[in-house]
């Protein structure tokens, strides 16, 4: 019976632990300094908004861990000694391991902005961040205005959160439209409009220049690259995240942006593995990025690694890309790849319902008409169906003709599929005519 030590009790580490337990009787220890028990990081926003209490973000009851013989240690890890096969905790104890899993997740990006370490300036990734937010922005008399930097998923979530406490929000986005590095222009515009509708002071093509000190180490304003000064009591740094790997310095474990792993999720050091946000693939899989800070990726890496550690060597080979998010009221799902601008040889088909937020964008290959991917807004679609279409190499025509097979909206919802079909045929004819 070997001792597997997992650093990090997020989705990656906990999934690995659960699956190792399903497959084996190895001794499993999970170390985390953040919380006693696993919680869903994606749900932190709902705690601040009052939709849930923190305990509701915990997917397993507290007895679960003991019952499944998952030992939990609440501590921060100071160092890893790969020669002794030991983990050194902040408090001074050591825990020895036979195999070590690094699943330490992410921390908010900072780019050396002047004032980025002032009080009232923070990101939103961990439970500590949430507690800090309650201190920094509990209400609109303590926090008269908030500024959010960076147009990603966490930024829009933070904006939504602050709005529930009626805190005015200024949202600085480097791009022309929200998330347009990922979303095609019409999709990005749709989201930008929606954010503005919620009375967010959304500034496109605007960047942070400096965060100003009120004289006692606390933020009281920012200036933008365009030279504007905005008074505020809070700055949310949401310009992406990066792997949390500081404690591995000089450990002998090779890192770049993240912890470098091979296809079997193993680092350069034998018996040391890395999964989730903190891992960086030496050879990225397909179109995927080397570092993928995505919930689903963390979960799937945990599943894969459990196989590896239990005598069933399995390469990290994720299936078709999928993701989802919610921008205020707009639900978004994506299956396959839709690039912000069509890849060479590809085209986009875009449909939007008049006076509503229902829209789709499909990317397909022009020559073969092969379906590449879909973005869908306010229309719930079935993962399984798209997975099949992507595996079978379905054409865009086949997908659009059969879209209703993939419908996942609740009963009695007006189905948009006939309208999409008609519009798609019209557009194809138009393009034939114009040739």
């Amino acid at each position: 019976m070997k001792h597997i030590v997992i650093i990090g009790n997020g989705i990656a580490g906990v999934t690995a632990a659960r699956h190792i337990r399903k497959l084996s009787d190895h001794r499993i220890t999970i170390i985390s300094g953040e919380t006693d028990y696993f919680f869903s990081r994606t749900a932190l926003m709902y705690v601040y908004m009052g939709h849930m209490k923190f305990k509701h973000t915990q997917p397993y009851e507290n007895w679960f861990w003991k019952k499944n013989r998952l030992e939990l240690v609440k501590a921060w890890v100071k160092r890893v000694n790969v020669d002794q096969k030991e983990v050194l905790l902040e408090q001074g104890q050591t825990i020895s391991y036979d195999q070590l899993v690094l699943a330490t997740g992410s921390i908010p990006n900072k780019f050396g902005w002047p004032g980025e370490d002032l009080d009232g300036v923070q990101g939103l990734v961990s439970k500590m961040d949430l507690e800090l937010l309650e201190k920094n922005a509990p209400d609109n008399s303590t926090c008269k205005r908030a500024v959010i930097i960076g147009g990603g998923l966490i930024g829009v979530e933070l904006a939504e959160m602050l709005l529930t406490r009626k805190i005015p929000v200024t949202f600085l986005i480097r791009e022309k439209y929200f998330w347009d590095g990922v979303l095609p222009a019409p999709d990005a515009q749709l989201i930008s409009q929606h954010i503005k509708l919620h009375h967010v002071d959304l500034r496109h093509e605007e960047e942070l220049d400096e965060i100003l000190d009120n004289g006692s180490g606390r933020v009281h304003a920012i200036t933008t690259k365009k030279g504007e000064r905005i008074d505020c009591d809070f700055v949310g740094l949401c310009a992406g995240v990066r792997p949390q790997i500081n404690f591995l310095k000089d450990s002998g474990i090779e890192t770049n942006r993240g912890i470098l792993v091979d296809r079997f999720l193993q680092t350069n050091v034998p018996d040391v593995y890395a999964i989730g946000d903190c891992a960086e693939q030496r050879e990225p899989v397909g179109e995927r990025k080397a570092v993928e800070a995505v919930w689903y990726t963390g979960r799937m890496m945990g599943e894969t690694l459990a196989q590896n550690l239990c005598g069933n060597p399995t390469a990290w080979n994720p299936g078709h890309w999928f993701n989802s998010a919610k921008f205020m009221d707009i639900e978004y799902q994506t299956y396959g790849w839709v690039w912000n601008k069509p890849k060479e040889g590809n085209a986009h088909y875009h449909w939007k319902e008049k006076d509503s937020n229902r829209a789709i964008t499909i990317e397909y290959h022009l020559a073969t008409r092969k379906f590449v991917g879909i973005n869908t807004f306010m229309i719930r679609l079935q993962h399984k169906q798209f997975d099949q279409w992507l595996s079978n190499g379905a054409t865009v025509d086949e997908v659009i003709r059969n879209l209703d097979l993939a419908g996942f909206d609740p009963e009695f919802y007006k189905k948009p599929f006939e309208a999409i079909k008609k519009d798609f045929i019209n557009q194809s004819q138009d393009s034939v005519l114009s040739h």
């Binding site: 908004m49 923190f54 979960r299 069933n312 999928f322 989802s324 009221d329 609740p410 009695f412």
Partner: protein
């Protein structure tokens, strides 16, 4: 977290504070309530119609206006901001005050209606008197506490229903479902029964199905149905078909939601007025274990009690022609019914020889003239003819040994007064004999039990098997033992005592005082989840034999927990969703809120083929090769 939250709760800050409109309409609503309260404290309002309209109007306007002020400036979408910060929905001081007043109201309603102003003989007083004009308008008679309750209940479902529709206006399923419960409450529970009363028909809420409507087969109710001729009998047949035929078919097709969240009145109140409390249900596994035992015990109790009352109703169900000196009628009142074998005066003589105190003939026909004896020679005991239709209540009272007054058919005669403690027997020839009835019950229970154990054995958890076998053996055992024992008391107790105890414990305390009174602490479905025997039967059908399930969308779940938090039935929806499993649970009422609050579009309520409905070995999409399949292989 906790530390900061306490600092936070200084005074009402967003999102828990009320805006001006919300404050205004809260005041209007409370003004309406104040009128009712003043009436309850015997302020005598001169123009009752006016003040009642003012009061009910203000309450409705307050609720609907509050909804308008809450949602008018918000875009369509999920509106749970601050739910856990608000005192009323987050188990704060207002929640505790609310359960005190709500459950207090239920205690008055069930046990002390006189304090609400009920006067059995004579003019009502207090708040009940205030409702007299409306009652007279609808059913022609003065109000009772039940009329007051029914009116307020309907107003609550209608007003909070409008609020709910506003809140979920982006969700067609919720809008249509809520319209349905509003309709069924107003038409079926409120207006139609009142009008039927006015038309001199039995009071019957057609959608209130046994065993939720536990009194449906009670003696006085059966008397009432049978004595109303073919229309009454049709209602009785509908009542039996509702539970034995209509319910299984609809539950098979749509799951129990067709009833629990589309039709039922309890469900209607829970979904509308109770919507603010759905997050308070307990999601822990122990709560689920308690739930399974308690709710199934209630359904067993309901079956036992109903079997006993029907049996006792049928007890004297033998032809009066069989009466002879061998009967022990010492000092008993003997009821007889029509039969064709023997002249009535001979039956009376036979009863007299067996020691009867008096004989009462129950007339169930449409005759206008009372039957008279052809020969009265030798008859020394009193003989009376009464219309069964006019004396349902009185006959039941006599059967229960209470004091009673019966109205003779010949109105020129004096009322028949029966003293408390007088024993009685009924020889009234109905088509269903008590023997046949008992065997029907045994047969039906065996059929249900056999179906579950033969065809669904692999789906029953261990404790479910133990519980089912234990209950089945005990119930059938006691039934057969007491039946052959000749004590004529099924299940050891007199049936009316069982009925009374059930009515007190389950009908009043559980469903009312706790079930609704405790909304703000235990959530809005305490009764439906832990107590309702109808929900238990529907849940059994739903779990083992229904096309309904909640499907999950591949690998899209992020385990956020919104679904579990807002499940009013305390189902840990997330536990299934994050594994990619369908949710097939007895308790699910199909309200659709888990699907609505899911931020990633993972959950969907669907009807589909039985095959593959329960997929506990399901695959979470996203991997290649399929690791979950590997996992299950490796396990073997």
């Amino acid at each position: 977290m906790g530390v900061y939250q306490r600092n936070l709760s200084l005074t009402g800050e967003p999102p828990k504070s009320l805006n001006t409109g919300q404050k205004l309409f809260t005041a209007i609503g409370w003004a309406g309530m104040a009128i009712l309260l003043m009436a309850a404290f015997n302020v005598n309002f001169p123009n009752k119609t006016l003040w009642l309209s003012l009061s009910l109007g203000a309450i409705s306007a307050g609720i609907i206006g509050f909804a308008w002020a809450s949602y008018k400036d918000k875009s369509a979408g999920i509106k749970n901001d601050g739910v856990w910060f608000k005192s009323i929905s987050g188990r704060g001081i207002w929640a505790w005050l609310a359960i005190l007043s709500l459950s207090g109201f239920y205690v008055l309603l069930y046990f002390y209606p006189q304090y609400l102003g009920l006067v059995e003989e004579g003019e009502n007083k207090g708040v009940i008197a205030l409702f007299d004009p409306l009652s007279k308008l609808l059913n022609g008679g003065p109000a009772s506490q039940w009329f007051v309750y029914g009116t307020l209940y309907t107003i609550a479902i209608l007003s909070f229903g409008i609020k709910f529709i506003w809140k979920y206006r982006h969700n067609s399923y919720e809008v249509i479902r809520t319209t349905s419960v509003m309709f069924f409450q107003t038409a079926f529970a409120f207006i139609i029964p009142e009008i039927m009363t006015r038309l001199n028909q039995p009071y019957y809420d057609f959608k209130n199905i046994w065993p939720l409507n536990y009194d449906l087969f009670n003696g006085y109710k059966l008397q009432e149905f049978i004595s109303h001729g073919s229309f009454g009998v049709a209602m009785l047949i509908f009542g039996v078909l509702s539970i034995l035929v209509i319910t299984p078919i609809l539950t098979y097709k749509y799951g129990k939601r067709w009833y629990c969240s589309w039709v039922c009145g309890c469900g209607g109140l829970a979904e509308t007025a109770g919507d603010s409390f759905r997050q308070l249900s307990n999601k822990k596994q122990y709560a689920w274990k308690i739930e399974r035992w308690v709710i199934h015990s209630v359904v067993v109790f309901a079956v036992v009690m109903t079997t006993a009352v029907v049996y006792s109703f049928l007890k004297g169900n033998e032809s009066a022609s069989s009466i002879g000196s061998w009967n022990d009628f010492q000092d008993k009142v003997v009821f007889i019914g029509a039969q064709e074998d023997k002249p009535v005066h001979e039956v009376v003589l036979a009863a007299q020889s067996a020691g009867a105190q008096r004989v009462i003939y129950l007339d169930r026909s449409d005759a206008t003239e009372p039957l008279s004896l052809k020969d009265t020679s030798g008859i020394e005991i009193p003989f009376d003819v009464v219309k069964a239709a006019d004396n349902g209540q009185g006959i039941t009272q006599v059967q229960e040994g209470k004091q009673a007054t019966l109205l003779p058919m010949d109105r020129s005669q004096a009322d028949i007064f029966i003293e408390k403690g007088t024993q009685s027997v009924i020889y009234d020839n109905l088509w269903l004999s008590k023997e046949l009835f008992i065997w029907l019950v045994v047969g039906l229970l065996t059929l249900v039990f056999g179906f579950a154990f033969i065809f669904r054995r692999e789906q029953l958890a261990k404790d479910a098997k133990i519980g089912a076998i234990a209950y089945f053996v005990i119930v059938i055992g006691i039934l057969l033992y007491t039946y052959t024992d000749n004590s004529s008391r099924l299940f050891f107790f007199e049936s009316w005592k069982l009925n009374q105890f059930y009515g007190f414990l389950i009908g009043a305390v559980f469903s009312g005082v706790i079930g609704t009174g405790f909304y703000p602490i235990f959530g809005n479905r305490v009764w439906c989840r832990f107590g309702c025997p109808m929900a238990a039967i529907l849940g059994f059908q739903q779990r083992l034999f229904s096309r309904f399930r909640i499907t999950t969308n591949g690998g899209q779940c992020i385990s956020c927990g919104n679904c579990s938090t807002y499940c009013e039935m305390g189902i840990d929806v997330r536990a299934y969703a994050q594994k990619g499993e369908n949710i097939v649970r007895s308790s699910c009422v199909g309200c659709g809120i888990c699907s609505a609050v899911c931020p990633r579009g993972v959950l969907n309520l669907e009807n589909g083929p039985l095959e593959g409905r329960i997929n506990s070995e399901s695959v979470l999409l996203g991997q290649d090769p399929d690791l979950m399949a590997l996992l299950s292989q490796n396990k073997d």
